[in-house]
């Protein structure tokens, strides 16, 4: 009877839920078990972003977080300043805040290591000459 009602109201079978949960957890497991892959990815990310902005390579952080329905990559890449020759349009005024453009496909708002709070703090300090912004 409960089976019938579940089907009537479109609740998916538990085996489907199990399959999906396993898919996510194993993706996450495999990522955490492949530190060399993550290091390589981090290096490439920094390299690409560095073509446009000056980044604080020593303090970059790339992590993966399992969420309810997906696994997200969280890249925390502090930006030190603009690279002048990559400023796209000629009369661009010197940017007071460099907005990083390295958001991922499914970028969440906060990273697990408190990047969001750090970002907020930094935005409240306009006096800093080269404010760092995180792309998450």
């Amino acid at each position: 009877m409960i089976d019938f009602l579940n089907r009537l109201f479109g609740r998916e079978p538990s085996s489907t839920t199990a399959r999906e949960r396993l898919r996510l957890v194993l993706l996450s497991d495999h990522l955490s078990l492949a530190p060399d892959v993550i290091e390589a990815l981090k290096g490439d990310l920094i390299e690409v972003i560095s073509r446009y902005v000056e980044v604080d390579a020593a303090n970059c952080d790339v992590t993966f977080e399992q969420q309810e329905t997906r696994v997200a990559m969280l890249a925390n890449i502090p930006i030190l300043g603009m690279r002048s020759r990559h400023v796209p349009r000629p009369p661009a005024p010197p940017a007071p805040v460099a907005e990083a453009a390295a958001a991922t496909a499914s970028a969440p708002a906060a990273s697990p290591n408190g990047a969001a709070t750090r970002r907020r703090r930094r935005r409240k300090a306009p006096g800093i000459s080269s404010p760092a912004t995180q792309a998450t």
């Binding site: 089976d3 079978p13 085996s15 489907t16 199990a18 399959r19 396993l22 957890v25 194993l26 497991d29």
Partner: protein, 279 residues
Amino acid sequence: MLHDVLPTEQTAAAAVPQARGRAIVVTSGKGGVGKTTTTANVGAALAAGGATVVLVDADVGLRNLDIVMGLEARVRHHVLDVLEGGATLDEALVTDKRVPRLKLLAAAQAREKDDVDTDAFHALIDSLRERFDFVLIDCPAGIEMGFTNAIVAADEAIVVCTPEVSAVRDADRVVGLLGERRTVQLIVNRLRPDLVRKGKMLSVDDVNAILRLPLLGVVADAPDVIVATNRGEPVALDADSPAGAAYRAIAQRITGALTSAPEIPRERTFFGKLFGSRS
């Protein structure tokens, strides 16, 4: 019952002794998925098929293979006695009462896994391979020292997995640890066909879509396995049991006598339930 599964000309021929025996570790990562039951039954089926087999219980401290085999009263020495020189290999090997080609080397109960010297264990398995067609190693749960010791001398592995998220995740981890060097095959254990049909259990395909291993066999969660274990009689030697048939087919796939894809257990019919029950 027993005589039905004892070797025929064909199966005995299929298990022709090789120059050196095959060392196969039975592992899973997660505990309680049926490693010991699988070791006992695959071993019994291989021996019933004509091969010489030794079962090595590598689960030091939690010895169970002897009781599952019904040989607990005959164990005099254990694997650590042999490794440490307290007993000879021949003194420690227990001969199965039903199939004398089948021997058991029990684990030490009052010792710890870390007491096993990896190199000495490796050498022991190597020496067993000189004497037997098959050396089946019952691996402890976990991925610590006991696991490392159990897999070190094996170049083949059977991963036992139940259709549960925890077992699949652990099996996936273990497959990674077994490395590329070893041949790894899968047994899906305790499948409930009725639950799979209702969408309440992962199917064999669901499990293997993740693990992607050659499928050696599928064993249903059946009362006859529990009953046989209660009695200390490997269900593989029961000619009337579907689970026994599954274990025998697994043994034949291991020897190469059977090459067809494993059968997926089906639900028992009403009449099957009515007349097929045991106690």
